[in-house]
Each structure stands twice: as C-alpha cells, then as structure tokens.
C-alpha cells in the first residue's frame, strides 16, 4: 500500500507550534487534548493545523520553530555533508512544516528565501545519501537495514522504488536457495 505525500503532511500538522494570538479565549477542550488559554500577545502552543487556521483568520502570528533559522540550518547542512550516515533532523517533519509555513505564513518567517534554499539543499543531500545506501544495501547480501533518522516524507518518497526492488530481489534470492536445495537432494 502506498501513501500520498498529502497524508504525510496531514500527520505533520499534529506537530505543536507556538503562536502569538491577538484574542482572549478560555481553554479549548479538543478530543486530542486541551489547548490554551489564549491572551493577546502571550505565546501559546497549538497543533500546526490549528495555527494555520488561526493565521488564515488573522487571529495570530506564528513563531517559526527554533530550528527554522538560517544559522541553525547551515549547521545542520554542514553536519549532513560531513557525516557518512543520516543525521538526526531537528524535526521529523522538517520538509512539511517548512512548506506549510512558507505558504500560509511567509511574513512570519525571517529570511524565508534562504531557509527555503537550505531546506531544499538538506533534502537533496539526504536523498543522494539514501540512493547510495540503497545501492550498497542491494549489492550486499543483507536482508534488512536500519534507517534511523530518516523522516516520514523521505521514507514515503523512497517507498515505491525501494520496497518493490527488495521484493523482487527477495524472490530472486529465494530462487537461488531452492536451486541449492535441489542440487543437494
């Protein structure tokens, strides 16, 4: 079964972000937990889907997450370049959150263009790394692999190719094993 990137984004919208509201409101009791209370100019944590909704109704300003900062991302990029393995991302949904905030709240993100470029660079770096490790994985005779720190959107993009390739390879490998058994009989 496959998943649409929009569904991965849907999952990302659960992430908590900080907003600065411009209204008064007691706590809201959602099924997923309580949110608030809200007072003008007092930062409060809400799920991203709610933040985007409030933003569209001009009821808040969204504070970019700490990691969404040019210096911090340059460091992440450097680490990703230097390290042979996948490094831990500051957010498991860095790509989706960036996309959503750039679209719905660009004026709340300082140096948005630079951030957009950095995120894209990091994504590309990790994707190239993923392709090399897939090649190594496939040529070796191991049957499973650890993929720590790979984010859901990265997994989802690689999924159709990678799972199909390994399924086909498993079939071809099973062939060689039954072949061996037959000659031994």
């Amino acid at each position: 079964m496959s998943m649409d990137p929009a569904e991965v984004e849907f999952l990302a919208e659960k992430t908590m972000v900080t907003v600065v509201p411009n209204f008064n409101q007691d706590k809201i009791y959602l099924i997923g937990g309580e949110i608030g209370p809200f007072s003008p100019s007092l930062p409060v944590d809400v799920p991203l889907w709610m933040a985007l909704n409030l933003k569209q109704r001009q009821k808040c300003r969204i504070q970019p997450p700490e990691w969404m900062d040019v210096e911090a991302l340059e460091e992440v990029k450097q680490k990703e370049t230097d390290d042979k393995f996948f490094t831990a991302m500051p957010s498991n949904h860095y790509m989706e959150i960036t996309q959503l905030l750039m679209k719905y709240a660009p004026e709340d993100i300082p140096r948005a263009d630079q951030i957009r470029t950095l995120i894209k660079d990091i994504w590309d770096l990790r994707n190239a790394k993923l392709r090399s490790s897939i090649d190594v994985f496939v040529r070796s005779d191991v049957t499973h692999a650890k993929l720590n720190h790979l984010t859901p959107m990265e997994i989802n993009t690689a999924r159709p190719f990678l799972t199909r390739a390994l399924d086909q390879m498993h079939m071809l490998r099973t062939n060689t094993q039954t072949g061996l058994k037959q000659t031994q009989e």
């Binding site: 009791y29 099924i31 109704r57 499973h144 720590n148």
Partner: protein, 221 residues
C-alpha cells in the same frame, strides 16, 4: 462546552487501565498506519473506532448547543474532520484488502477459534461473504457456464489471491524486543536473529515482524 477529555475505559487492555481520548486518538493513528502498510488484513480495532465515533457524536452535540458565532466551533469542526479522515481511510483501506483477498480473509476468519478475537468486524464479514458470492456468480454467468464441463470450476488452489507476506515494510520499534528470527536457516547460511531497540527504524520483510505489528511492539511507518 463540556470537558471531553474525561477518562475513557479501554476494554481491550487487560490490566483494565483507562485511556484518555487523546491516547485513543493516538492509537487510531497507529492502527491507520499499520493497516495502510501491512500487506495482510490486520485485526479490526473496533473499540478504537467506536470510541472515536462516540467522541465525535458528543462533540457534535456540543457544537449544536454552542452559541452562534462561537469562535471555538470552527476549531472543533476541523478536528472532527481530521478524525473522520483517519476513520474512513482506515476502514476503506481494509475494504480494499478484503476485496482483493476475499477468499483468503474468509478462510483465515474461519480458521480462527471462537475464543479468538475476530479479524473482521461483523459488517466487514458480511461484506466479504456477499462480495465473494457476487464475484463467483459473476464469473459463472459471464464465462464459466460457457466452458466445457470439465473446465467449469475454478480451482481455489490456483485462483485464490493471497497477500505477499514477504513484501518489505518500514517500521519503527516501540518496545525493545530481543531475538527476532529474521531468516530461517538455509543451506548456505545459518539462521539470523536480531534485537530490536526502541526508536530504531528498519526496512525489513513483513513476515518475521507480523506478530510484533499486531502486538504493537513495532509500528509500520
């Protein structure tokens, strides 16, 4: 508006511990992901679905009672839409599998003991049975009855579609699990056993981890 985060009794847990609505919602999300990515049909999580539907119903009652222009209504409606999406996508994914592997899932349900929890909900079971009968009838009317007498039956041994349990899945480990048998011993290599560490992510064949998905020790991603 009423406080809806009251503790809910979770019937499925053996220790009888209670769960908050937020925790049940989390379980629903996990069930949705597992169902989406596992090649086989998993056990229906009826209690989770029912509990969430109940929550939605109560919330909608509250919305109806809310004053006109209440700021919170839009937010609540949005959350309900999100939960509805999980539920319907979850059930729809299951229906797709039931349609694809009808004979197989019916066979499996039959093989389960009466003391075991069923794999399908009663509605799903009815659907599977009717779907199977309709397909059989359709084949008969359309083609089989025009065949020579010795070719008028389909041999289930060849025609039944089964999920490929050896297909690869991505998973995240929720609980440390030692001694998972990944590869049976073969002529050229010994068996392969691995330890799963909480937080690890792996790509691996579904078969060796199937029971861990069902128990929740790992979750598909």
């Amino acid at each position: 508006m009423a406080d809806l985060t009251e503790e809910l009794e979770d019937e499925s847990s053996e220790e009888g511990e209670s769960m908050t609505a937020a925790e049940v919602l989390q379980k629903l999300e996990e069930a949705w992901l597992n169902e989406k990515f596992s090649p086989d049909l998993l056990e229906i999580k009826n209690d989770i679905v029912d509990c969430m539907l109940e929550q939605i119903k109560e919330m909608e009652e509250n919305i109806r009672r809310a004053k006109k222009g209440d700021f919170r209504v839009g937010i609540h409606k949005m959350e309900i839409d999100r939960i509805r999406y999980f539920i319907s996508s979850y059930l729809r994914t299951r229906l797709q599998k039931i349609e694809k592997y009808t004979a197989h899932v019916l066979e499996q349900e039959k093989a389960r003991g009466s003391d075991e929890t069923p794999q399908m909900s009663p509605d799903e079971y009815t659907f599977a049975k009717e779907y199977s009968e309709n397909m059989e009838n359709h084949f008969k009317v359309l083609a089989l009855r025009h065949m020579p007498p010795n070719l008028q039956a389909l041999d289930p041994k060849h025609t039944v579609m089964r999920p490929n349990l050896d297909s690869y899945v991505f998973l995240r480990v929720n609980e440390d699990t030692a001694g998972v048998l990944v590869e049976e011993e073969t002529a050229e290599a010994g068996e392969e056993v691995i330890d799963l560490e909480k937080g690890d992510q792996l790509i691996i064949r579904y078969r060796p981890v199937a029971t861990l998905v069902e128990s929740g020790a790992v979750g598909l991603i």
